[in-house]
Symmetry: C2
């Protein structure tokens, strides 16, 4: 067993660097971190209840409400009553929301690739693929 720092001890600084890199980009687009998470989640497919969205992005459903209010009043998402259940709200991203989300993600991607440049070229794809596998296995 080789000596190395704990995984969490290594991931902490990387995570802080990623957040510090994203915050200016988000602020430039007048979007909060949670707002961006919501847009990213809705970009894949519409969600049929706010509770489901909260669980999908690991947020508290009570905390999401102000976020959704802001996104809706900014015209980035739509909150329509669900056809079958008048309690629920169907959440969809608007074309403008998708445009904004794509712009933000593209800017973030540029910075991410810059960070990944500290890795030997043949390690980069392996690292990203490993992250994908581990995050998929960490869903619960």
């Amino acid at each position: 067993m080789e000596a190395r720092p704990d995984l969490a001890a290594m991931m902490g600084p990387i995570g802080r660097t990623l957040v510090a890199m994203e915050l200016p980009i988000l602020r430039e687009h007048e979007l909060s971190m949670w707002g961006y998470a919501v847009l990213s989640s809705l970009d894949d497919q519409p969600v049929h209840t706010q509770a489901a969205l909260a669980e999908a992005i690991n947020a508290d459903k009570t905390r999401l409400i102000a976020v959704l209010d802001d996104l809706q009043s900014a015209g980035l998402i739509e909150r329509r009553p669900a056809p079958g259940d008048r309690r629920a709200r169907v959440l969809t991203i608007t074309p403008e929301g998708r445009r904004l989300r794509n712009a933000v993600q593209a800017a973030i991607r540029v910075e991410e690739e810059r960070l990944l440049e500290v890795l030997p070229p043949d390690q980069r794809a392996v690292f990203v693929d490993a992250l994908r596998r581990l995050s998929a296995a960490s869903k619960p």
Copy 2:
């Protein structure tokens, strides 16, 4: 440019899984997350001011004080006045502190390796090495 989730979006769930895995181990040894971070930092070498320790583990110096009080009264660290500067305190880990730290880290390592089993064997070392490079580059 291949499509993939943001790095932060993938690291979030992994980080939560790691924390959820560590908490029971820490509780079993009656150690807080910050206490473990302090012991791990001091295990490498003594630190000559509390402020330096705070910066090393990315903590607020005011928040560290209660943590150090607990560790000291548990006999896991020593806080001695610095020879040259009577304001400062030299922080050292005790033999018992080192024993505890090693036990906790060994238990964490077992669980980490179990998580890494979702990766193809030839990806594991690459992933850990990439984490090490990225965290080293994320120090500021």
